[in-house]
Symmetry: C2
Subunit: 157 residues, 2 copies
């Protein structure tokens, strides 16, 4: 990508403009709102909830730090720190990886699973109230595909 903006692209149309602005606002408001709902409700911040949730969906309820970080959209060091927080609460335990002694597995404890079960209704409700509720009548599957493209695709140069 030597100089991606040699030619100035088409300015945004009014619809594009308001979509971009609205997305900016949602990206700011939504995680805070959901996090606040959950913390107020069950004392479990969104980052930690996400980690527990991803662990719970996995056979053996365990994941390598690497993979978990990817699933949580966190850097490896951010993940380390999150797991440490969870470990001190007894919600997660770390075990050396059997096939590769450099690796660690984060393992969901029974307490962690219980905590997750306790929290998920609160999370679910927050997601519905704060987000999904406002998309009645929108083609969700199509929208999801568009977001997946935007989230994963490399930009066309």
């Amino acid at each position: 990508m030597a100089n991606p903006s040699t030619a100035t692209p088409q300015p945004l149309s009014p619809d594009e403009e308001s979509l971009v602005r609205a997305l900016g606002q949602v990206m700011h408001v939504l995680p805070r709102a959901i996090d606040a709902d959950m913390v107020g409700d069950r004392q479990l911040p969104l980052t930690e909830y996400t980690a527990l949730m991803n662990l719970s969906e996995t056979p053996g309820r365990r994941l390598r730090m690497n993979e978990l970080a990817g699933l949580c959209h966190l850097s490896l060091s951010g993940m380390t720190r999150t797991i440490i927080r969870l470990e001190t609460q007894g919600l997660v335990r770390r075990e050396r990886c059997e096939e590769d002694a450099r690796g660690w597995n984060a393992v969901l404890t029974d307490a962690g699973f219980a905590r997750l079960e306790e929290s998920w209704p609160s999370h679910l409700a927050a997601v519905r109230r704060r987000f999904l509720q406002h998309f009645e009548g929108v083609d969700l599957a199509r929208l999801a595909r568009a977001f997946q493209r935007a989230g994963t695709a490399e930009p066309t140069d």
Copy 2:
């Protein structure tokens, strides 16, 4: 909000589930990608760009800290710090507010405006490539309205 999750709401459908996951990813990836494009291109981080942009769209190219913070989706103290960064680069100047001596106006300097003009093609290109491009064929106006609701609405209890 005494206990918003007394009744467990309906679990997410597969479409809802993947929309939520995809949104999570986009919220993580998109600002970083755009910011990286812009920093690589013009050395102007997204937060600072947003501040300059909002100032430029205003009569007199000036705004009270309060209003600017709202437009930039930043806390007042976060805004103070951003403006300080911009001030040391000479892109913004602060002036006591005439009608209310407690208040400050952030004023876009000529250098700041020039910097913005220099950067906006890069920002525009990034937004198109990283985001809008993936929404061909989607009803943008309708989508924008849904996001506005999600961003501004108080949740229904």
